[in-house]
Amino acid sequence: MQDILTFYVRRLLSRIFYFFLCLLSWNFVVQAFLIASSPRAFADQSLNTSKSKPKFFFGSYGRVGFSSNPQGGEGYRHQVTAYAPRLIEDNYLELDLGYHAYRGKHAQVDVITTLSAFDQFFHYNGQADAQIAIRRAYVEAKRIGGSSLWASLGSRWLRGNDIYLMNFWPLDDLNTMGLTLGHQGQQHDFWVHAGVSRLNHRSQTQYVNVPSATNFGAESVLMLNRQRLILASLYERRYKIGSQSKTAGWKWKLYSEYHALPSGKETLEGSFTEQRTLPDDAGLVAGIQLGVWGLAHQANHLNLWARYAKGLAIYDELGTPQAMANDRRSWSAQEWRLALAGNWQIDRKGLLSLQWGSYIRHYQDADAIKVDYDDRLEGSAVIRPQLNLKGFFTPAVEASAQWSQAQGSHPVDLSTKAAQIYQFAFIPALSFSRAQINAYSRPQLRLIYAVSLLNDAALARYAQADPRAQHTVSHYLGARAEWWFGRGGGY
């Protein structure tokens, strides 16, 4: 009885939340139209209403390199926290191909696509294939009807600020197939988004062979077809700092997501008639960001994020819940994040810059077990001072720590010690930029020597037979290149 009551109360709360989200979103839209219709809205925007020729554009992000461990094998990273310093990372490539489809008085319309390739490169493994994904394929229309409104439709990401040193977006990093409506102004940004995803995972998608209706044999039908609905909204308010400054400013941002997964029927293995019910599920995210930038130097910034997530939304729209409550829902899972990151260039010439990133996170899964090894309080911090010598030689050092305290004891040895990893690295690098060099100047070619110190609890996270579990001190020697240029599309 209590379970049923809890279920309905939870549903009711979800619906109320959803209702308010819609109300908020609608409010944003109405405001957007009001702002957009205001003659001052775009006073300082150079709306190009003249007809321009359509053109293609190309952009890319990539990181590639090679490495060695002391035994001559490929070097590897150690990680005990959900997000960790990115210094030692996989190869990855994104190729953007876009087209300015329309430039006119009604809008600026772009078609944007991004092809991604994951880690498997032919000259390393000799395999004439690759793991590729189409990450972005959407149309984006800005300045619709001459206003500050924009819309996009298709497969895309919507991202805010990240912690570069961890390759981590602490607040907003949404990847869906959906529709976004927004307003982009000098001081205000907001958007609302509705998207869906249906992962090729047994909990959402299941094709089952059934007797063919008209022919011999079987035909495959989509039996489980559970889309996750994701509603998201963002509001950002920006302020200039000082009347003289053109670049310095600060902002605050509110962000929310609501995830809903309908109930479905999973067909049991070896059958096309026997099914079990998968209950509906839901999740939400609410968070805030405070940011300041441009003080003393264009590349300087500091961001503070706080984010609360619940249920399905904790696990990212591309992930599935790791642990369920007895009713097979994830709703009772909770996560808190608090993150701080920034960059500070010591002098205007950028002789020395200091990048850092840190976060702390508490995660509690949905199962009924209160003292659970899967539940974690964890944090990670990384700092990277970088020199700028001769305008292209940018040697750096990096120190980082990962700390993860499971809320239950280790399943085998019952240890309650926190897993800890400390890593120190020396990174001689060459950075190139047409503008003044700073910590984010790319392309960059870097050599990396890193030493990682792992305590017993960190080693115990690996399978016993895993070679990585054998050494409390781990060395890495690598060479990597990273670039980005010409990225198309907003957000």
Partner: protein, 697 residues
């Protein structure tokens, strides 16, 4: 160091902002769980749980679960037990016997290891049920409620982790040689050879050890090849010491049961002790001292880490009695040193032979055994099949006679007194006046109490005096290895019968179950209830007798549930039912009446059983009517509802004349029963019912 400290300070400071704690997680207080929870094992009511089938408290460990297959994992776990402790508490059981906890080979030939008897690692938990912390939490939660936990352990064998490379080709095969011999279909009868076939996983018994053979003939002992299939956890055993091939008897599977009558006793015992258990479960060489030591250490580990209160030991019959002398005494000492006195070890020897069962309790062997003799002769023969109740009395008398044989008595008394006097510093009262006085006293007093030897540091009563195996026999109606009692006791259903007829038969089965329960929970020994009995589960032989408990809804309103609950309550309230002597006051040589038997008219007094349980302070009279209702008799002639014989005589009881008795099993009844001037009691007793009579206030 500075960096580490700074980082920790930073992280903890941030966490404080979130009002979260940096301290390590709370752990189960093992010093609490490592103490003694049992005063006298006869006070306990054991409830047997097949963990996979009892309650699913954590769906996240439901790996490879398939509820449609009886032989697959179904999802039960230790968290499920924690969740249902309220139910068990309400029922009144005081000890849980849980299925094995160790990591198993996942599956074999389409059967899963949900039962837990296919050990791969002796020192890791089976993650289908939870991790070590979950096990600790479960035991702790039980102890917090005063419920003890008994672990099922397998010392005889491991899972199917190696194969015998009979043809020496380095891979497991079904090996065939020969054409089948003349006349067996070979095309060339002149050169036809005998067909030889062997499964390298599970070859048949060979006294010499499993032999390799090729087309050229035998080729020495077949090499033992460990398998590495981590996807089903079929990997070499752990700890690594168990990877020594010499730690296994390597003689192949027991086959003697197929022609048991033709085999000598010695050869049968040799096969049973040294052969692999059916299913390719590789037999440990438990005659070796290093194997004994290793087994002691791995199972001591579970007492240490989880705080168990006793062991149920699997397949006693397949190991040398000498093994248990070493294993049991070492475990007893380990438990004692850790703070657990009264650690109980009882074993399963699937045999109705009292002497064989008793042999495992000799010396420092196990403390007790599953009383299969009573299973066959009492529960199956009398309560399920309606056999004469004198069979029960005979079982007791035979056992007493055996235990009273002068040689056994003198050996036992001698041993007990040596032990008692050796512990002079502990001022054992039996040795207060010296060894000779002790011998004389024990020889003259109730010998059964000391028969078959007590154990050094073994189970004791509440006063700290040792209890003998015959006082600690584990009685059961059924368990996971035999069909449910209801399966055996319910008249067979016929597909041609009406639903009404089916329901009537099922109702009869339920009544028979309840009268058997009345016996189980009022007789001496330790009652053991198989999960689901209280919910009228009726599955046949394995695996059908391992039903999902959750399908019952854990109802606490069923008739059998309430009946069992009341009996357990009485057993707790009446010390005589737990510790009293047994004196049969009524049995019958006649078969009980069976409703389905037209050819067997009811006989007055048949199917009735009455016995007194007495302590110095209290006598309880238990009367059970094992007859089915006589549906053919007229209402005016209910001949089966009084306990008198054909001459109209009632039963002689030890209560004085004119004593008034009342029935505690039916608390709503105000009826009183008076002992007549001749010391006889005539009790009205409906078929398939029982009364627990005590002095009326």
């Amino acid at each position: 160091m500075f960096v580490q400290s700074s980082m920790r300070f930073l992280l903890c400071s941030l966490s404080m902002l979130l009002l979260l704690q940096c301290s390590p997680p709370s752990q189960v207080n093992m010093s609490f769980n490592r103490r003694t929870f049992v005063k006298d094992w006869r006070d306990e009511v054991i409830y047997q749980i097949v963990v996979d089938r009892f309650a699913d408290g954590d769906p996240n460990n439901n790996f490879n679960v398939d509820l449609r297959k009886e032989a697959a994992y179904h999802g039960g776990d230790w968290q499920g037990i924690i969740d249902k402790l309220g139910y068990l508490d309400d029922l009144g059981v005081t000890a849980l016997w849980i299925s094995p906890v160790v990591r198993n080979v996942e599956e074999d030939a389409g059967f899963a290891s949900y039962h837990g008897y296919w050990t791969q690692s002796f020192i890791d938990t089976n993650l289908h049920f939870g991790d070590l912390a979950a096990l600790q939490r479960m035991v702790d939660a039980c102890h917090q409620r005063g419920i003890k936990v008994i672990l099922d352990v397998v010392t005889n064998h491991i899972g199917q982790l190696f194969y015998y490379d009979i043809n020496r080709n380095g891979q497991p095969d079904i090996v065939f040689f020969g054409g089948g011999g003349p006349g067996s279909g070979s095309q060339n009868s002149d050169q036809a050879s005998d067909l030889r076939r062997a499964s390298e996983w599970d070859p048949e018994y060979d006294s010499r050890g499993v032999q390799a053979f090729t087309a050229l003939g035998e080729n020495g002992l077949a090499p033992v090849e460990w398998v590495e299939m981590p996807e089903i956890n079929r990997t070499p055993p752990e700890p690594v010491g168990f990877q020594n091939p010499n730690w296994y008897n390597r003689k192949g599977r027991v086959t003697v049961w197929e022609n048991e009558a033709q085999a000598s006793f010695e050869y049968r015992r040799e096969q049973e002790i040294k052969g692999d258990f059916p299913g390719g479960l590789k037999d440990l060489a438990t005659h070796r001292s290093d194997v004994r030591q290793a087994l002691t250490e791995v199972f001591a580990y579970w007492i240490q880490e989880a705080g168990f209160d006793g062991f149920r030991i699997d397949t006693l019959k397949h190991q040398e009695a000498g093994f248990f002398d070493v294993f049991s005494s070492n475990i007893r000492k380990f438990a004692h040193d850790m703070g657990k006195n009264n650690f109980l070890m009882f074993g399963e020897a699937f045999d109705g032979n009292d002497e064989l069962l008793g042999s495992y309790t000799h010396g420092e062997g196990v403390d007790s055994v599953f009383y299969f003799s009573a299973y066959y002769r009492v529960f199956m023969n009398v309560f399920a099949q309606g056999g004469p109740t004198t069979g029960i009395k005979a079982l007791f008398e035979e056992r007493r006679a055996k235990l009273s044989e002068p040689s056994i008595v003198s050996e036992t008394v001698d041993r007990v007194c040596k032990l008692a006097c050796a512990k002079a510093s502990e001022s054992d009262p039996r040795c207060a006046t010296g060894f000779n006085a002790c011998v004389e006293t024990l020889t003259n007093e109730g010998l059964e109490r000391y028969s078959m030897g007590t154990k050094y540091l073994g189970p004791t009563n509440a006063e700290g005096l040792p209890l003998s195996p015959s006082q600690l026999l584990i009685n059961f109606l059924d368990n996971h290895d035999v069909p449910r009692f209801l399966y055996s006791a319910t008249p067979a259903l016929n597909a041609d019968e009406s639903n009404q007829a089916h329901e009537q038969k099922i109702a009869i089965g339920h009544q028979r179950l309840r009268s058997a329960l009345a016996y189980l929970l009022t007789i001496d020994g330790i009652p053991c209830i198989y999960y689901g009995t209280e919910q009228n589960f009726s599955g046949g032989p394995d695996p059908s007798n391992r039903e999902d408990m959750w399908r019952s809804g854990f109802s606490q309103q069923g008739e059998t549930y309430l009946y069992m609950k009341q009996l357990i309550k009485l057993r707790k309230e009446l010390p005589a039912l737990r510790r009293g002597t047994v004196n049969f006051v009524w049995t019958s040589d006649e078969q009980a009446h069976r409703q389905s038997s037209v050819a067997h008219p009811p006989v007055q007094g048949a199917g009735l059983l009455a016995f007194e349980r007495s302590t110095a302070e209290q006598t309880v009279l238990v009367v059970i009517n094992s007859n089915d209702p006589d549906l053919t008799a007229s209402e005016q002639a209910p001949r089966l509802d009084v306990s008198v014989n054909n001459e109209g005589q009632g039963m002689k009881v030890s209560f004085p004349p004119n004593t008034k008795l009342k029935d505690l099993l039916d608390p709503s009844s105000t009826q009183e029963f008076t002992v007549n001037a001749s010391g006889e009691l005539i009790v009205s007793l409906p078929p398939r019912s029982a009364r627990v009579l005590v002095l009326a206030e």
